[in-house]
């Protein structure tokens, strides 16, 4: 009896395998491109979506008045023309050939409805705060609109990139995957909770119908498994969310089409300027000198970043290159720390000049970066105590100002007015994101002037000066701008990566049947 029992488990596993081993079924028709995403989108309705995947997929379903191009410049989309009557009033003429996926024409009433729906406090839209400068949206014709602002606020134009939904769209979805129809190049075909989102081509799209039959966004949370799925041929395209370590391997072993493109996501070290040691500018400069960013980018990021000098990347129209740069120079860092009154108590011995805490999230890569920075700062006599937290606890702490140093990234930077939110003295949380409590009256004046004028050249000069001040004062130690890493099969053609990771170029992408 026992002998036969012994073979039973092996038999079971064998039968389990045999029963299951059949060609993996393809659950989408041919002509669909499969893209892997790290997390399932929380929301596709453009009035509420703020998570990266929700916004990116939503942008394929919905059109907006304006849309950023691959160079991050805003271009008309639904708006045929945009005219400034004065600095507080925008007149917009809509295209007349646009229809929603349900065949209903897209008119000024829909645009007015979308913006008013966001402004209604009962709808709990996270985008309501962005529309604070907006006083009213007036419909002056079936295809004509007038946006009234409370005061001149040039960065408001960025808010014209919100997707438009039809009048009377429900506030909340009543069934999974139910979202209002859009007017974009793709229509929502199916949403399987936690698994995948399937979009199908809009055959009546007003620009031109997309060459792809559709796009499947498959949720594959684990980075290694995304790579294995790609190797197996189940995935055509991955953008970002790829472990830097895997990039060289993918290029060598799979023959994937791997590209790293300049991006705008800015990684930095935030500094608490209320801290008695860190409020000294010499200490902050010493930190900047002591961190070997080139080496971090080369060894930990495997080249998927570009050493940064400030918040705005070279892709931004307001970028200023003529600012103070802080190359790796540990000797200069030690000298500055001595001058600041923090001599090393025992030379090269184990005692540090001072100790600081460094907060980061519990993501593996972030922790590795923190460890490398700790090691580099130890070389100049600064001891770091790394504390990693899950996101909500980390975010709560840094908003409260409960940190010495922390590392985080800014994503999706478009208008240089972001500097107001980050460094104006009135932007201390909860009003804004000046978490380090930086205050500089000259910078305050510049940032106020920058948002109050719509003159492009004047703004450029203002923000150039602001960037020079920030590079000298260092309320942040800039680390790098992340590159957008795109891994795709060579059959995927015409996919253009956007600096902020947008995937809107899928509307022009195609799948070649043979490798070119």
């Amino acid at each position: 009896m026992p002998r036969s029992l012994y073979f039973f488990p092996a038999g079971f596993v064998f039968i389990f395998f045999v029963a299951a081993c059949r060609p993996t079924h393809v659950d989408h028709p041919p002509g669909y491109l499969v893209a892997a995403i790290e997390s399932y989108p929380l929301q596709l309705d453009p009035r509420y979506s703020t998570d990266a995947n929700g916004v990116r997929i939503g942008n394929l379903i919905y059109n907006s008045l304006l849309r950023a191009d691959p160079q991050s410049r805003l271009q008309p989309e639904l708006a045929e023309s945009l005219r400034l009557l004065d600095e507080r009033t925008y007149d917009i003429e809509l295209r007349r050939d646009v229809t929603f996926h349900n065949g209903q024409p897209l008119t000024a009433a829909d645009v007015k409805f979308t913006y008013e729906s966001i402004l209604d406090p009962n709808n709990r839209s996270p985008k309501r705060g962005n529309l604070r400068p907006l006083r009213a949206v007036e419909q002056i014709g079936p295809y004509q609109l007038r946006f009234h602002l409370f005061a001149a606020h040039s960065p408001f134009i960025e808010q014209l990139t919100i997707g438009i939904v039809p009048v009377a769209s429900a506030v909340n979805p009543t069934a999974p995957g139910q979202v209002p129809p859009g007017s974009g190049p793709f229509m929502l075909e199916a949403a399987e909770s936690g698994e995948k989102i399937t979009l199908t081509r809009n055959p009546h799209y007003w620009e031109e119908s997309p060459p792809l039959s559709g796009v499947v966004f498959r949720t594959v949370p684990d980075a290694l498994v995304r790579v294995l799925e790609f190797k197996k041929g189940n995935i055509d395209l991955m953008q970002n969310d790829i472990e830097p370590d895997m990039v060289p391997w993918l290029e060598k072993n799979i023959g994937a089409d791997v590209g790293a493109y300049p991006g705008t996501t800015f990684q930095y070290i935030g500094i608490n300027l209320m801290h008695p040691i860190l409020k000294q500018v010499k200490v902050r400069r010493a930190l900047a000198y002591a961190i070997d960013r080139e080496s971090l980018v080369r060894h930990i990021l495997k080249g998927t970043g570009t050493v940064a000098a400030g918040v705005l990347s070279p892709l931004n129209w307001a970028y200023e290159d003529n600012v103070e740069h802080w190359p790796y120079d540990p000797e200069r860092a030690k000298q500055l720390l001595d001058e600041a009154g923090f001599p090393d108590p025992d030379g090269d011995g184990p005692l540090p000049r001072f100790r600081l805490s460094f907060k980061t999230t519990n993501i593996d890569l972030r922790q590795r970066i923190a460890e490398a920075i700790k090691e580099q700062l130890e070389r100049v006599g600064i001891e770091l105590d790394i504390r990693s937290y899950e996101w909500a606890a980390f975010y709560s702490d840094i908003k409260k100002g409960s940190f010495h140093l922390y590392s985080l990234a800014w994503v999706g930077i478009l208008d240089p007015d972001i500097l107001f939110q980050l460094f104006h003295s009135s932007s201390v949380p909860p009003a804004g994101d000046n978490r380090g409590r930086y205050a500089n009256p000259e910078l305050d004046r510049l940032l106020e002037a920058g948002r109050a004028t719509t003159n492009h050249e004047v703004r450029r000069q203002i923000y150039a000066r602001a960037q020079r001040i920030l590079a000298e004062d260092l309320p942040y130690v800039p680390l790098w701008w992340w590159k957008n890493v795109v891994v795709k099969k060579s059959t995927v053609q015409n996919f253009i990566p956007y600096p902020d990771g947008e995937m809107i170029s899928l509307k022009k992408a195609r799948l070649a049947t043979t490798v070119p």
Partner: protein, 307 residues
């Protein structure tokens, strides 16, 4: 028996109530504010205050707790803060995946462990026993985050027999169910083997042998049945854990179950969704307890629930 089950049901209600109260307090008291996460970076203090009011988060904790319980009694678990859908519909969409994986993993664990444990016990000290113990030690030592990708590389990439990840036909279930099941099987093998060996030294087994019963009868009718009791307890506990979702296995195999969603909801401080998930998990445990009690009675007729 019926009376006992009713009595247990009456006792379990306060258990679920206690669990929900504890989770409500914990999720509200740990640092992190859903309003901050929902509104992102650009909202003003007034916006935040307004949203807190709309969501009722500005109320004292006791008032929030009272409305949570009242809504729960009405069968309303609320709406997810981010997905803006009813928690019931979200959980309903995810739970079948968790159930499917849990059942298959449990069946795999039982089918693998049961014969191996019996073989090992019957041939105690032999190479069969030693091999089984070594294999079970290996099973215990291999974490799922390692075993999962290894199985994928061998069976999906190298051999091309099975899909890498995702949920679909039965082929999608094989690797996640075996990954989860092997770890559990390793524990079950050791427990069942030890119990069998303990039972075999009991007087009634000697008596059964003395009566002239065949070795097969002694093992199956006398020893195995008595060794099963503690196994039922362990299996029910492990199965309960599986029904709460397996975070690591779900993540590795892109399995859209409850475990990963619960962890994400906690990270995002999606209070209603966390509470909904915990309710379902506690109900699963309650149900399993009932089933376990019934199985106890079947395994050991001496157990009486009459009084």
């Amino acid at each position: 028996m019926k009376r006992y089950l009713l009595y247990r049901a009456a006792l379990l209600l306060p258990t679920i109530f206690g669990v929900l109260t504890l989770v409500f307090l914990l999720i509200h008291l740990i640092p992190g504010d859903p309003v901050d996460i929902m509104l992102g970076e650009t909202a003003s203090a007034a916006d935040r205050q307004e949203l807190r009011q709309v969501l009722g988060l500005n109320q004292p904790l006791l008032v929030q707790y009272r409305s949570f319980i009242i809504n729960l009694l009405r069968g309303d678990l609320g709406q997810s803060l981010y997905e803006r859908r009813s928690v019931t519909s979200i959980v309903r969409a995810r739970y079948p995946a968790t159930l499917e994986l849990a059942l298959c993993a449990m069946i795999a664990a039982l089918v693998i462990s049961f014969p191996l444990a019996v073989c090992a016990a019957v041939r105690r000290g032999s190479w069969t026993d030693r091999t089984t113990l070594t294999v079970s030690l290996l099973g215990l030592s291999m974490p799922n985050f390692w075993l999962g990708p290894l199985a994928m590389i061998i069976f999906s990439i190298q051999l091309g027999w099975l899909p890498v990840s995702g949920r679909g036909g039965p082929d999608h279930l094989v690797l996640p169910a075996l990954t989860l099941g092997l770890g559990m099987a390793a524990i079950l093998i050791r427990i069942l083997r030890t119990n069998l060996l303990r039972v075999m030294s009991e007087d009634y087994v000697q008596t059964a042998r003395a009566k002239g019963l065949s070795e097969r009868s002694v093992w199956l009718k006398h020893a195995l049945r008595n060794a099963l009791l503690s196994l039922v307890t362990i299996v029910s506990l492990q199965f309960g854990g599986l029904l709460a979702g397996s975070l690591i296995t779900e993540t590795i195999f892109s399995w859209p179950g409850l475990g990963r969603m619960t962890v994400q909801a906690i990270e995002m401080r999606d209070y209603p969704l966390v509470q909904g998930c915990v309710l379902v998990i506690s109900l699963s445990y309650v149900f399993l307890n009932f089933v376990t009690d019934i199985i106890y009675k079947w395994v050991d007729p001496r157990i009486s629930y009459g009084n």
